[in-house]
């Protein structure tokens, strides 16, 4: 019996301007079987979302050039097609967590916590 209609290769959009962090997170998530897609700022992320299938999860940095995480989140919420995608915010600004997100993880990011949180929002297709 199918208990969850999620895909068995959940798609995750990683929005992070730091190349090192972005590459590392994408590599980590791909290694764990997720289809991770990188974006360098909020605008790149919106461009991707407007032309690609809706991802299962967005991992979002806050402080980015061009379009930051707060601006991106405002735009995302305005769009009914995108508004329900869960968002995990990553930030070093522990005093600037004034953002509507499903989870907030403080940098440096504990990989174990990140993967546990990701798996919560990206449950793979299971059979009972």
């Amino acid at each position: 019996m199918q208990v969850d209609k999620k895909r068995d290769d959940p798609r995750i959009l990683v929005v992070e301007d730091d190349e090192d962090a972005r590459e590392a997170m994408v590599a980590l998530l791909q290694m764990k079987g997720y289809r991770a897609v990188p974006a360098g700022n909020g605008k790149e992320a919106l461009d991707y979302l407007n032309r690609a299938p809706v991802p299962d999860l967005i991992i979002l940095d806050l402080w980015m050039p061009v379009m930051d995480g707060w601006q991106f989140r405002n735009e995302q919420i305005k769009d009914p097609r995108l508004a329900e995608i869960p968002v995990i915010v990553l930030t070093a600004l522990s005093d600037r967590t004034d953002i509507d997100a499903n989870e907030i993880i403080i940098k440096p990011v504990d990989v174990d916590r990140l993967l546990t949180t990701v798996s919560h929002y990206c449950r793979r297709e299971q059979t009972a």
Binding site: D18, E19, D20, A21, E23, A24, M25, V26, A27, L28, Q30, M31, A92, K107, P108, V109, D110, V111, D112, L114
Partner: protein, 138 residues
């Protein structure tokens, strides 16, 4: 040289050799050696601002997700505290990513501790000094 100085000098030589061996193992993706040199409780805080433990790091090296073309380590200072040693220095590395190669200059601090009579890497912190512009893969 008093006995303490003699012992510290010996420890420094051992750690220098281990630092070199660990760097070579990283470069060659030699997970068997890394498995031996890394303590089970190893924690690494990387330049990517990710804190990772031994198993996930070994998995990344083994699966080619942490692949290096260049990895050079220069020890600057070793400080001993009995059964614990702090090694600090700098590194030049060139990481082969999904779409590009990244050359980085970093400072690092490695903490070695005795585990059942053997030195094991228990903690590592890496800070970026400079990063070159990524070179797209051909």
């Amino acid at each position: 040289m008093n006995p303490d100085d003699h012992r510290n000098a010996q420890v420094r030589r051992e750690i220098e050799a281990l630092e070199h061996r660990e760097a070579q193992a990283m470069l060659r993706a030699d997970t068997s050696t890394l498995q031996t040199l890394w303590a089970d409780e190893l924690l690494v805080n990387s330049t990517a601002n990710l804190i990772a433990g031994k198993q996930i790091l070994l998995e990344m090296v083994k699966n080619g997700r942490l692949k290096l073309r260049i990895y050079e380590r220069r020890l600057v200072r070793i400080t001993t505290f009995g059964e614990m040693v702090i090694a600090t220095g700098n590194e030049v590395s060139q990481l082969i990513g999904n779409t590009a190669e990244y050359k980085m200059f970093v400072s690092y601090m490695n903490v070695w501790a005795k585990r059942r009579g053997n030195w094991r890497l228990v903690a590592r912190h890496v800070g970026i000094i400079e990063r070159e512009k990524p070179v797209p893969l051909q």
